[in-house]
């Protein structure tokens, strides 16, 4: 007897066309074709073994296996490629999915449900990401999650609260500045502590004499080396 494939963790991207059901069928067809083209371009450099593409009534779902960074990249590219006349929002999470039976029966799982739920909250050209995705991104590439900032909380139909994030490149730059400041402070503190300790032992004048003697000796040695 064939066993049911176990659940795996994947990054699930729900690319959703807002208000899809209310649009005329001609527009629906156009938007759908546009979305498929944009996604085809965005996933062109992704291995076929690394992604599963699913149909939804109002969008497309992409399940990416083992590479949250690639999933985020593809999501951003799709939204950018589809910017011309394609209203598109995306919900991204990292959760459990599993194949739904044999012969290409599709996928099911909590990951898909969560991504679908938050995609409904994402406005046009917006990407909402869950904390689970943020954790997966941090696990895959520590530091990459720094560009994600809190966007609020969403309680789903099962009364689970999801902390939501969106991407803000300024957050990564701000983190860089914070680290630079912390580094400068740390250097000053450690060197200053060493100097302070010495001053406390020898007094300020003694320490100044020692530094000046050391500098003079250093300058003399340098001059001799250059003269030679």
């Amino acid at each position: 007897m064939a066993s049911t494939p176990a659940s795996v963790y994947a990054t699930v991207v729900f690319l959703r066309i807002p208000e899809f059901a209310r649009r005329p069928a001609t527009e629906q067809t156009r938007l759908r074709a546009q979305l498929e083209s944009a996604l085809a371009v965005a996933i062109a450099d992704m291995s076929e073994a690394g992604r599963i593409v699913l149909d939804a009534a109002d969008g497309i779902v992409l399940a990416v296996l083992g590479d949250p960074r690639a999933a985020l990249r593809v999501t951003e590219r799709t939204l950018a490629a589809g910017a011309a006349g394609l209203p598109l929002g995306a919900g991204v999470t990292h959760g459990a999915v599993r194949p739904a039976g044999e012969n290409g029966g599709g996928l099911l799982g909590d990951g898909i449900a969560v991504a679908a739920g938050i995609s409904a909250l994402a406005g046009p050209s917006k990407i909402l990401l869950t904390k689970e995705f943020r954790d997966a991104l941090a696990d895959a590439a520590p530091g990459a999650e720094a560009s994600l900032v809190k966007a609020g909380t969403h309680t789903d139909a099962s009364l689970r609260a999801h902390q939501l994030f969106h991407r803000d490149p300024r957050a990564a730059r701000a983190r860089g500045r914070r680290y630079a400041l912390a580094g400068a402070f740390l250097v000053l503190a450690l060197v200053g502590a060493g100097v302070g300790y010495r001053v406390s032992l020898e007094g300020a004048q003694g320490f100044a004499d020692r530094v000046s003697a050391t500098l003079r000796a250093g300058a003399h040695a340098l001059a001799q080396r250059l003269g030679r």
């Binding site: 059901a21 069928a25 073994a49 599963i52 149909d55 799982g109």
Partner: protein, 382 residues
């Protein structure tokens, strides 16, 4: 035992019986005043509750329906009552009921859309005049030999559902073509007819029964909760656009359905143009036609593609037909040892050592701290 055929009803001379239903009989009759052959639909008033009200309602409905003159609606010439019979004289149609045509097999997509379009045009006209059919179904759609499609039985459905009971207590009307609001007894408007037409269109395209069930309760449950599979999943001839038309007509919530039949007509016209545009290529390729039929058998198991708002943890989404996902699915079904390790677990929290090792900024900060610490120690102790 069948009741004896009367010789005359009102001024009409009965020529023969055309059909018999739960509420009455349809006769072929002659109008001697105009020397015209008509179809005379009779409804028995004997079992109607509140007969006076019922008669009044019948007259009102028949009068309203009689005002509808449209190429896609059967013309009503006259109505009246005699003894325990209410009758309606209408245009006699020579053709095939859509129900009979559907029994012969799947109707080609272009023909299905053409039929649905004509029905939608007739409904749009009726809705514009404030009349909701309430019983749109293949049995009420007549395909004429060389002419338009005609909708029959306008104005009768309301009386059937609201006021009339049979002695056996059986359900009248056709639950599997009813909209969710209609089957649950809520007020209906033109959007209910649009839902019913959506069911008819789906069945024409797929050849199956969309909301079939063993009893009315089961059908009602299916109408209210069962999401349809896109027709293109079982009939490759159906363009994606037609999937969208059917999906919109079959929305459970009337607020997101087509709001009027004209809107649906516009989409059906576009779908028909698309189908006609590619018809010659299809017709010449008999091999492809055979392949289509082969796919129909297996396609019944194809999962649905629900909208984001309807997806829960056990909702399965079908694979996209535009992208090949076989390699990744194979990877899930037969995972390598590495995949078992990587994909089977939730993300690990990133600890300080890994953070320093893998994240450039903490690594630089750590290096700066080490260097500054050394300099500080040098200053303190050297």
């Amino acid at each position: 035992m069948a009741a004896k055929t009367p010789k005359r009803i009102g001024r009409y001379k009965i020529l023969g019986e055309l059909g018999r239903g739960a509420m009455g009989v349809v006769y072929k009759a002659e109008d001697p005043a105009l020397d015209r052959v008509v179809a005379l639909k009779t409804i028995s008033l004997a079992a109607a509750d509140g007969r006076k009200d019922y008669e009044k309602r019948f007259m009102l409905e028949a009068k309203a329906a009689g005002k509808l003159t449209h190429p896609n609606i059967v013309t009503i010439f006259d109505f009246g009552e005699e003894d325990d019979l209410a009758y309606m004289a209408m245009e006699l149609l020579e053709g095939t009921e859509l129900r009979a045509r559907m029994r012969e097999g799947t109707i080609p997509a272009a023909e299905s859309v053409d039929i649905a379009l004509q029905v939608a045009e007739g409904l749009a006209f009726a809705h514009e005049h404030g009349i909701v059919h309430r019983d749109v179904k293949p049995g009420n759609i007549m395909l004429l030999e060389r002419g338009p499609v005609k909708i029959m039985d306008f104005g009768i459905a309301r009386m059937r559902h609201a006021d009339h009971k049979t002695s056996a207590g059986m359900v009248l009307g056709t639950p599997r073509y009813m909209s969710p609001e209609q089957i649950t007894g809520q007020p209906v408007d033109q959007r209910s007819d649009i839902f019913s037409l959506g069911v008819v269109l789906h069945e024409m395209l797929t050849g199956g029964s969309l909301f079939a069930g063993q009893d009315v309760d089961q059908i009602a449950h299916n109408v209210n909760y069962l999401e349809h599979a896109p027709p293109s999943r079982s009939n490759r001839e159906v363009p994606q656009m037609l999937d969208f038309v059917v999906a919109r007509a079959l929305k459970k919530d009337p607020a997101v359905r087509y709001q009027d039949a004209y809107e649906m007509c516009a989409d059906l016209r576009d779908a028909l143009a698309e189908l006609k545009g590619r018809a010659p290529a299809r017709a010449s390729d008999e091999t492809e036609r055979t392949q289509t039929l082969k796919m129909e058998a297996g396609a019944k198991e194809a999962p649905l593609a629900p909208a984001a708002s309807q997806i829960v943890a056990d909702t399965r989404l079908p694979l996209s037909r535009q992208f090949d996902s076989a390699a990744a699915l194979e990877r899930l079904e037969k995972p390598s040892r590495n995949d078992r390790k990587r994909l089977a677990h939730a993300p690990r929290p990133v600890g300080l050592p890994r953070r320093i090792w893998s994240d450039a900024l903490p690594r630089r900060l750590f290096a700066a701290a080490v260097v500054a610490g050394c300099l500080g120690a040098l200053a303190a102790f050297a």
